[in-house]
């Protein structure tokens, strides 16, 4: 065999060896990739399986929360009126008046009374629970503050039913106690048992002894 043939043979063998080495190494790498993708697919499958019930559950939760929001908004507006309701919400969550109520688009146009500038949250709660406490009606945005700083404690009276602070004479008086009180009570022989009904001054009694 001539020398050129030997050299050709060596060259071909070298090329084949290079092909074998690199192709086998590539095959090994591809097998590793396949194994990794198998693990990935398994993990993604678990994720899909675990997240399958999320959508209906979250939808149910949202439906219930939406219903609660609708009901509470409706109740607040029904009881407090649109203007006071906006003022109350804005007092508890400053800036919320701009967003308004979800089911009342017109609430965005309401000028929120500055209720929070006058009363604390506890007072706001009492005010809304009271029947005759339109504390915000008189003080729209930009108006004068309702609270009288020199007589602030008296202003709280307006939060309670009117009979308490304007017509005290119609309320029953507190009982007078003492030896000269109009109603005399005898000490009981045992707890919870009264010897006889108390008598008022001037009422004829069989027993006129002093108590």
């Amino acid at each position: 065999m001539p020398a050129a043939g030997v050299v050709l043979l060596v060259a071909v063998v070298l090329i084949v060896l290079a092909l074998v080495y690199y192709l086998v190494a590539t095959i090994v790498a591809l097998r590793q990739i396949v194994a990794g993708l198998d693990r990935t697919i398994a993990g993604v499958g678990e994720i899909i399986e675990k997240t399958a019930p999320v959508a209906p559950v979250v939808s149910t939760i949202n439906e219930h929360l939406d219903a609660a929001v609708d009901a509470l908004e409706g109740l607040l507006v029904k009881k407090a009126g649109m203007e006071d309701a906006v003022g109350l919400v804005d007092g508890l969550y400053p800036g919320a008046a701009a967003a308004g109520f979800r089911n009342y688009p017109e609430s965005r146009e309401v000028a929120a009374p500055r209720i929070s500038e006058v009363y604390t949250r506890g007072t706001l709660t009492l005010a809304r629970l009271g029947r005759e406490a339109p504390i915000a009606v008189v003080s729209p945005t930009g108006g004068p503050v309702l609270r009288d700083v020199t007589g602030g404690s008296l202003a709280a009276r307006a939060l309670y039913p009117e009979a308490r602070q304007t017509r005290p004479e119609k309320l029953s008086r507190s009982p007078v106690i003492g030896t000269d009180s109009p109603v005399q009570y005898e000490p009981s022989a045992e707890p919870g048992v009264r010897r006889r009904m108390p008598t008022t001054e001037g009422t004829p009694r069989a027993d006129t002894g002093a108590v």
């Binding site: 050709l8 060259a11 590539t26 990794g36 109740l75």
Partner: protein
């Protein structure tokens, strides 16, 4: 004979280096994918593990329903005991 030698030289000096270069490139790219795929697999496994708490959503759903029912009861009571706003 001269052409044969020229062919041998081309084979050894050009073809063999080109073949080796191309195969090395393919191998390098294939090997670079392996750690990426392993990382994705690890992230998928971790994500799946993080979702183990998803069944708790059922408890959350039940709690929300109960809470809304309680709110509805309170709201109904308030609707009865508090006067409506005077228009």
């Amino acid at each position: 004979m001269t052409l044969w030698w020229i062919g041998n030289v081309i084979l050894l000096a050009v073809v063999l280096p080109v073949v080796v270069y191309l195969l090395r490139g393919v191998l390098a790219e294939a090997r670079s994918i392996v750690p990426t795929v392993d990382g994705i697999a690890a992230v998928a496994a971790a994500g799946s593990k993080d979702l183990d708490a998803v069944p708790l959503l059922l408890t959350t759903q039940d709690q929300v329903i109960r809470t809304v029912e309680a709110v509805a009861h309170y709201g109904g009571s308030l609707d009865v005991i508090i006067d409506d706003h005077e228009r």
